[in-house]
Symmetry: C2
Subunit: 175 residues, 2 copies
DNA sequence: ACCAGACTCGCCGTTTTCGGACATCAATGC
DNA sequence: GCATTGATGTCCGAAAACGGCGAGTCTGGT
């Protein structure tokens, strides 16, 4: 049956809404956006606790304050071999940069697996920390984000030092 | 990914061949027949140990010596809800008795789920202890057994006090 | 000419769906 | 006798559908 190992969760307010954090003893497993796309209820056997998330909380707060460009956290995302390959490649996109899905496909040596990369991106269990928001359409359009396009736009604006007030007024095209 | 909880295994010689025993901390999980149908190699992360199987070993030895008619062991079989229902019902078939797949289906209040019962029976992870060998065709034929029909015949003969020598000469029809 | 959209088609991993096969058995029609 | 059929849950394989794409074509408006 499923694992007996304990799973922890907690919530964290942020400029882009409440974040639900999930972790096990070996690292951070998931981050959900409140009202995000794959929103689901915490599993009944999970336990709420703040202690496992002290590091995560601090680094995310620093990130949103514009004071952190890189995360140093134990991560433990779950997925297929292909998905993990894509997700770890995300971590290598520099802060503030953007690449296209096609380029990302090339970087994992599967230049034709473009749609598959898109699908894997769409299931990134650790948004923000694994910066899937830095991947955009080859024509510069944002095309999609689990936490909603405004959030994607906000994160990119944040990383480019743009003033925060214009959550809905950015110059970045939505399409 | 999967559980971190330790899994133990060991082997036990018996009149019907070597038995592979698998257990976790909450009870016996599996018994395989050497050369049985769903024969598989022990998982690489399992650890071999004798201590968890002291009780199991003694009770099985007593059973094969004809000195035990009922097992008193912590069991922890894994399966679907339906399968567990079938398997626990097996434990209520008296020593030496036989019933048909149809009767077994009735006892779990699903008189039509006869084939499903057959399939569940075929996946009994704890043969001998959960006596699937006591389930036979409605016409008295043995019809099938994970450890081979001769073994099924042997177990039934043992439980009926028949002399052991005739492993292949029993009067019980094979079909 | 040029450009923005709308449309088509090929690409690929994952998910979903579907169809059989099973350690059955009783009823039916021939 | 004997083949057929229907009822049940699960597993397994195959097949199809489905995406946070992208390059190419076509169309219509300037």
């Amino acid at each position: 049956m499923s694992s007996n190992e304990p799973i922890w969760y907690d919530e964290l307010p942020s400029p882009v809404g409440i974040l639900r954090l999930v972790a096990d003893d070996s690292g951070l497993r998931e981050i959900w956006f409140e009202n995000g796309r794959h929103q689901k209820a915490p599993h009944s056997q999970w336990r709420r606790a703040a202690a496992p998330f002290v590091l995560v909380r601090r680094q995310l707060e620093e990130y949103f304050a514009g004071e952190r460009q890189q995360f140093e956290l134990p991560l433990h995302p779950h997925g297929t071999a292909f998905q993990l390959k894509v997700w770890w490649e995300l971590a290598r996109i520099p802060y503030g940069a953007t690449i296209s899905y096609g380029q990302l496909a090339q970087r994992i040596d599967q230049p034709l697996a473009v749609r598959a990369v898109g699908a894997a991106n769409g299931r990134n269990p650790l948004p923000i920390v694994l910066p899937c928001h830095r991947v955009i359409g080859s024509d510069g359009s944002l095309t999609g984000f689990g936490g909603g396009l405004p959030t994607k736009r906000y994160l990119l604006a944040l990383e480019n030092g743009v003033a925060h007030g214009d959550l809905f007024g950015s110059a970045l095209r939505t399409r």
